[in-house]
């Protein structure tokens, strides 16, 4: 039985282990990714850790030409944009992540609703970032 706290720190530690983990409310059954200690829907306070299947669909996205310092450091700029997205997981929870395996220079070709699967970005000793790619 997993007994880590339902926190962002735990969520990120799981990502490093290659696991997309969320919490499920013991009262109403709703899933949250990242996990929450309190269910905002029913105020249930009995949560369980659940590993997500890692499959979902694209709910919304953007291709960013002018990014923050951290993305510029990774080599992204107005000639080399990247894609950030909101993904609706099969379990119902939604999560913010990068979208890879598509061409950020051709946003017209990216379809809201397209099926996606999880991908973990590990880069040296940096933090693991959550990404999705077309199924």
């Amino acid at each position: 039985m997993e007994n880590r706290p339902f926190s962002d720190i735990s969520f990120e530690a799981f990502l490093t282990e290659g696991k997309l983990m969320g919490s499920r409310c013991g009262h109403c059954g709703k899933h949250y990714v990242p996990p929450r200690p309190i269910c905002p829907g029913c105020h249930g306070m009995q949560m369980d850790w659940v590993e997500m299947s890692g499959k979902g669909k694209l709910a919304a996205f953007t291709c960013i030409a002018i990014g923050p310092a951290a993305m510029i450091a990774e080599g992204y700029n107005r000639h080399n944009p990247y894609c950030s997205a909101v993904i609706e997981l099969d379990e119902g929870a939604r999560v913010d992540a990068r979208l890879e395996g598509i061409d950020p220079k051709k946003p017209e070709e990216i379809d809201v609703g397209m099926p996606l699967k999880v991908k973990y970005g590990h880069r040296g000793d940096k933090r693991t970032h959550l990404a999705f790619e077309p199924l």
């Binding site: 919304a60 953007t62 030409a65 939604r94 992540a97 809201v112």
Partner: protein, 421 residues
């Protein structure tokens, strides 16, 4: 059934002022607030002795980050000679001064104070664009930043969800931009008092002068579709979908309704106020509306006993073109998924049935974030008193106007309804 809220006693606006908005090398926050304050004092028809002011509520988002100076309440209190009376700063990202306004209203409604100054300020242009973007991103939610989202990025994602659900496209966003730019030259305080056609003309002239190839734009939309003229910032947000970086200040004098006639024969009354809080992108089941705006609107309509149709015109928080479409739906002016058609039909033009952002909006008037909320109320006050000059709403018997302010990525939203009696 939602509780219908009311004020303990009525509150009226008897004076208002705002600085010109823009990027000023030679003016700082204090200079800009002084400019707004002097206009406010001059606007009180029967005069105000500043010694009569009981307290100050001041909205400021992040001069801490932009200017490395915090604690602006007492700085402004000292500037205008209000010390040792209380000065309180409010922070709600881009809705900071709408919160100052609410606190001022509550302070008078409770009976504690009779005369209160509310306002806001922000000084952003002395930082680089990258630094400003980083400062503004402090008001996103943590998961958004980690996924690489910027502010324009969040609203870009909202736009893709809106497009997918309702069948709108980039041209519908261009309609918002063109409309705001048509109002801007009529506002002497606006940062960009130019129509899109004015901008096209000046670019053509500049190309001719430099001997560069002359662009062949057939109309405003052709210009806005030109990737060189209007580059992508965060799909589908392009440069002309985004409000600028601005410096500015705004303020208003609030008094208990029963004493309003001591200051003016034409007070403007606070009829409804609402505020809501909202979640980050990933926590919303539907990205085509802001729950905080809907909540704030319900509260304001409930308090005033009015319906959306009763609000004759409004200022809404168009930090990005797509945001204006969501707000005019969330405030009930148009049904969900129909706002883009209403804008295309001209319903929100200055001479339309529901004028929106007669000031030019954040897009053209400018968006010094902490000053914006009260500057929107300033526009509504000016319109209701029939003093908006060439941009005066041409509706007969103009009585009711609204102002909607949004902070962060929808985390704080307010809606205020003002009335001329």
């Amino acid at each position: 059934m939602k509780k219908r809220r009311k004020l303990g006693r009525g509150v009226a606006i008897v004076g208002a002022g705002m600085s010109k908005f823009g990027m000023f090398k030679d003016k700082d926050s204090k200079d800009l607030f002084a400019e707004a304050f002097l206009e406010m004092v001059a606007s009180v028809d029967k005069g105000i002795d500043p010694n009569e002011i009981d307290a100050l509520y001041l909205g400021n988002f992040s001069n801490d980050f932009f200017m490395h100076q915090s604690h602006w309440g007492p700085i402004v209190s000292d500037l205008i000679g209000l010390t040792p009376k209380p000065a309180t700063r409010t922070e709600g990202a881009c809705a900071s001064s709408a919160l100052a306004f609410r606190e001022g209203v509550f302070a008078i409604a409770s009976g504690f104070y009779d005369i209160v100054l509310v306002g806001g300020l922000e000084e952003m242009s002395k930082r680089t664009t990258e630094e400003v973007a980083e400062g503004l991103a402090l008001a996103t939610v943590p998961y958004e930043g980690q996924a690489g989202f910027t502010f324009p990025g969040v609203f870009g994602a909202v736009a893709t969800a809106y497009f997918a659900k309702f069948g709108a496209n980039r041209e519908h966003l261009m309609n918002v931009t063109i409309k705001s730019h048509n109002n801007a030259p009529l506002n002497p305080k606006a940062q960009y008092p130019l129509t899109v056609r004015d901008i096209m003309q000046s670019k053509l002239k500049s190309a001719e002068k430099k001997g560069l190839p002359i662009p062949d734009w057939s109309d405003e939309k052709a210009f806005l579709k030109d990737r060189r003229a209007n580059p992508m910032v965060a799909w589908p947000m392009h440069l002309y979908d985004c409000c600028p970086i601005s410096d500015g200040a705004s303020c208003m004098l609030l008094v208990a309704e029963e004493m309003a006639r001591n200051f003016t024969d034409d007070p403007i009354h606070v009829l409804g106020i609402g505020q809501g809080s909202g979640r980050g992108l990933h926590a919303c089941d539907d990205l085509t509306y802001f729950e905080a705006t809907r909540f704030a609107a319900q509260e304001a309509y409930g308090m005033s006993g009015l319906k959306p149709d009763d609000v004759q015109f409004a200022e809404v928080h168009d930090c990005f073109s797509i945001a204006e479409l969501l707000h005019i739906e969330d405030l009930g002016f148009f049904k969900p998924g129909t706002g883009f058609k209403a804008v295309a039909d001209g319903a929100t033009r200055l001479d339309g049935p529901k004028p929106i952002n007669t000031s030019g909006g954040l897009k053209c008037k400018g968006h010094p974030v902490g000053a914006t909320g009260v500057s929107q109320l300033y526009e509504v006050w000016t319109q209701l008193r029939g003093k908006a000059g060439r941009r005066q709403v041409p509706i007969k018997d103009l009585r009711i106007g609204g102002a909607h302010n949004l902070g962060g990525t929808g985390g704080t939203c307010t809606f205020t309804i003002l009335e001329r009696r």
